[in-house]
């Protein structure tokens, strides 16, 4: 284990890791660029590296950009990433009171502590869970994949039915290419480039990168320059004292964030809102929230980074992504020739230990990198968005091309970019589509292999001690909310009368 920890300090891993964290500062700090997009843009580079270096880069970008996303949220009231949505509420209020720097330092330490707790829980929970997951059958994997997808469809922003449509389209796109069981081409239209399926990286870069660029360029107001200087003065020791005074909020929000992150489909954004909501509900003075409450900054910023560790639990253990970032990570792992799932704990244990080590050490690196990020942020904000968008576009093109040296993949990226842009208008969420692209082959293969084993019988898919609860969970995901609302209404009815 110690040798695996020391291995992450090799220049071949350390240098790209630190560079990716610097890139994360840029991505997170620039409103309009998301952590998912940052990870998507960095994947093509990691393809040419050893897997651990690639994983270190992905972890570096994701942890840093989730934190730096809180910087414009705090200073400008514009979340840098969706995960920073809840940080806006009290962070910006503190900025208005001239305490912006205090809020950012608090945010930085909470992010690092939250991330640390998230990874610690991952280290504790993942190995025993993986041993349990080894006993999973095809039927159980089928339902687990479907459960992850349904969570994503329902929990994503917008109407749940739109999430289902997005997921169904993603699953359909995942069927394009040669069918592994029979060797028959499906929906390729005779195009040789489609025989190996729709490229995951171009699709993802298009959905998250190009669609964002299109959204920005279509709004001239967004392209205008905006600049701000980090306001107020605060000391590191002062921030640490505040954290010590609110240590239970930090710990509670971090654990909660990790648990929410571990649910397939629920990412850092939902974790931050849940932690904020719980903190407000349990606070002695809930009225202070939204007016610059310190705990209103601590809770979401601890939870959003902690959730990143949580999202890796289903991704590593079951091969089911916890959010869109880990969906991309799973795609990258498959690209490296790795098999995410319980077997990775047997076949590539040193890589898993390396990921744990990188995750923990990233939190230590986050503090100096974050401090630099806060300092240089003023100049990043002064970068006009019309320039940033062109740079993002050029990187999106080369990122899509570089995977297979294919011009066709650039067209795929453009097509998905247009789809992503139109989906914004239709309020159709994009994460279910990406998750479906990743989970599609797993869901279909397990369904068909299971049916081969049962000679076409569906009974074993339902009457099984793990399948049946999973089916109930899926049904609850879709119908639980309306049912609970109905019973609540029924319960309140007579009282009201």
């Amino acid at each position: 284990m110690l040798s695996e920890v020391l291995a992450v300090f090799r220049p071949g891993i350390l240098v790209p890791w630190l560079l990716s964290m610097a890139f994360g500062v840029l991505v997170g700090g620039t409103p309009g660029l998301t952590a998912t997009m940052g990870v998507a843009l960095i994947i093509p580079i990691t393809y040419y590296m050893e897997p651990l270096a690639g994983m270190a880069m992905i972890l570096g970008v994701s942890f840093t950009s989730i934190f730096t996303g809180d910087i414009p949220a705090t200073l400008l009231r514009i979340p840098g990433t969706p995960a920073s949505g809840a940080a806006v509420l009290d962070g910006y209020e503190l900025t208005k009171q001239g305490r912006g720097m205090e809020a950012l330092l608090l945010d930085l330490f909470c992010s690092a502590i939250g991330g640390f707790i998230g990874i610690l829980l991952l280290i504790v929970v993942a190995p025993p869970l993986a041993r349990f997951a080894l006993r999973f059958t095809n039927f159980q994997y089928f339902w687990l994949g479907l459960f992850g997808l349904s969570m994503s469809a329902v929990l994503s922003a917008g109407k749940p039915f739109n999430g289902v449509v997005s997921a169904a389209l993603g699953l359909l796109i995942a069927t394009v290419g040669i069918d592994i069981t029979t060797g028959m081409p499906r929906f390729t239209g005779g195009n040789m480039e489609l025989m190996s399926g729709v490229g995951f990286i171009p699709a993802m870069v298009g959905l998250f990168g190009l669609s964002e660029v299109l959204k920005n360029v279509s709004n001239p107001a967004l392209l205008k320059e905006s600049s701000i200087t980090v306001s107020g003065k605060a000391s590191l020791l002062g921030a640490l004292r505040l954290i010590r005074r609110n240590k239970w909020t930090v710990i509670k929000s971090s654990v909660l964030g990790t648990c929410v992150g571990a649910l397939p489909g629920a990412g850092a954004d939902i974790a931050a809102w849940v932690a904020y909501g719980v903190e407000k509900k349990t606070a002695k003075n809930p009225d202070e929230f939204g007016k610059g409450a310190i705990r209103g900054v601590i809770a979401p910023t601890s939870a959003n980074n902690a959730a990143l560790g949580g999202t890796w639990i289903p991704a590593l253990v079951f091969g089911v992504p916890g959010d869109s970032i880990t969906a991309i990570v799973l795609g990258a792992m498959l690209m490296y020739g790795l098999r995410p799932g319980p077997l990775i704990f047997q076949e590539n244990l040193s890589l898993v230990h390396g990921i744990f080590a990188v995750g923990l050490i990233s939190q230590l690196f986050l503090i100096p990198v974050g401090l630099v990020g806060i300092k240089v942020f003023g100049s990043i904000l002064r970068l006009p968005r019309n320039m940033v968008m062109v740079i993002v576009l050029v990187f999106s093109v080369i990122g899509s091309f570089a995977i297979r040296n294919s011009f066709f993949d650039i067209y795929i990226m453009v097509a998905f970019g247009v789809v992503g842009y139109l989906f914004e208008f239709l309020e159709i969420p994009l994460p279910p589509m990406i998750l479906a692209l990743i989970l599609g082959p797993m869901i279909e293969d397990n369904l068909r292999v299971g049916l081969i084993k049962t000679h076409g019988g569906f009974g074993a898919f339902i009457f099984d001690p793990i399948c049946f609860p999973l089916i109930l969970c899926i049904l609850f995901v879709f119908f639980g909310g309306p049912l609970l609302r109905y019973f609540k209404k029924e319960g309140n009815g007579p009282k009201a009368e």
Binding site: I45, Y48, F161, V164, V165, A168, L169, L171, L172, T175, D179, T181, T182, M184, R186, F187, V213, L214, V217, S218, N219, P220, A221, L223, P384, N386, M387, M389, V390, I391, L393, V394, F395, V397, I398, A402, N405, F407, I410, Y411, V414, V418, Y421, L422, F425, L426, E444, L447, R448, L451, I452, H455, G456
Partner: protein, 155 residues
């Protein structure tokens, strides 16, 4: 605008659902131990059945959407940026094949930034530095075969 978009999307889903359904039926059946088991068409067929109500839902949602939602499309420089960007992007790919990556990327970056009203010298600086960065990192460090074009210019 949103109303029409929803109805149009619903229709696309219906057509897609129907075409996937018919295409899936044409795929051969698989057999295991003398029994017919789901073949390559089974899963897409299942999905097409799911997509159909999705299409109907979008059409109904579109019909219920008031004309005023999302507003009318006001054709201004911002909205025109989207087709201009896509056209430049689609021209960029064949240009890359002809002129090579370096020159095509520089031209693409310059033209797009000028369109987005970036001052000329700033655009020049960003276009040159971005192109050189990518050529160095992707071309030299990661040895990706960037298109050289007919000029063969230069990596």
């Amino acid at each position: 605008m949103i109303k029409l978009l929803r109805i149009f999307f619903g229709l696309i889903l219906l057509v897609l659902s129907a075409s996937v359904f018919w295409t899936s039926l044409s795929f051969p059946q698989a057999v295991s131990a003398g029994k017919r088991i789901p073949g390559p068409g089974f899963f897409p067929l299942l999905l097409s059945v799911f997509l159909f109500p999705g299409g109907v839902y979008q059409i109904i949602a579109g019909l219920k959407t008031p004309w005023s939602e999302g507003g009318k499309i006001v054709w201004n420089r911002g909205t025109a940026n989207v087709p201009v960007l896509l056209a430049l992007l689609l021209a960029y790919v064949p240009l890359m094949e002809k002129l090579g990556y370096t020159l095509a990327t520089f031209l693409f970056g310059m033209l797009l930034m000028l369109r987005l009203k970036v001052p000329f010298f700033k655009a020049l600086l960003v276009a040159v530095s971005t192109t050189l960065f990518i050529v160095l990192v992707f071309g030299r460090v990661f040895h990706i075969q960037l298109p050289r074009g007919i000029i063969g210019f230069p990596l």
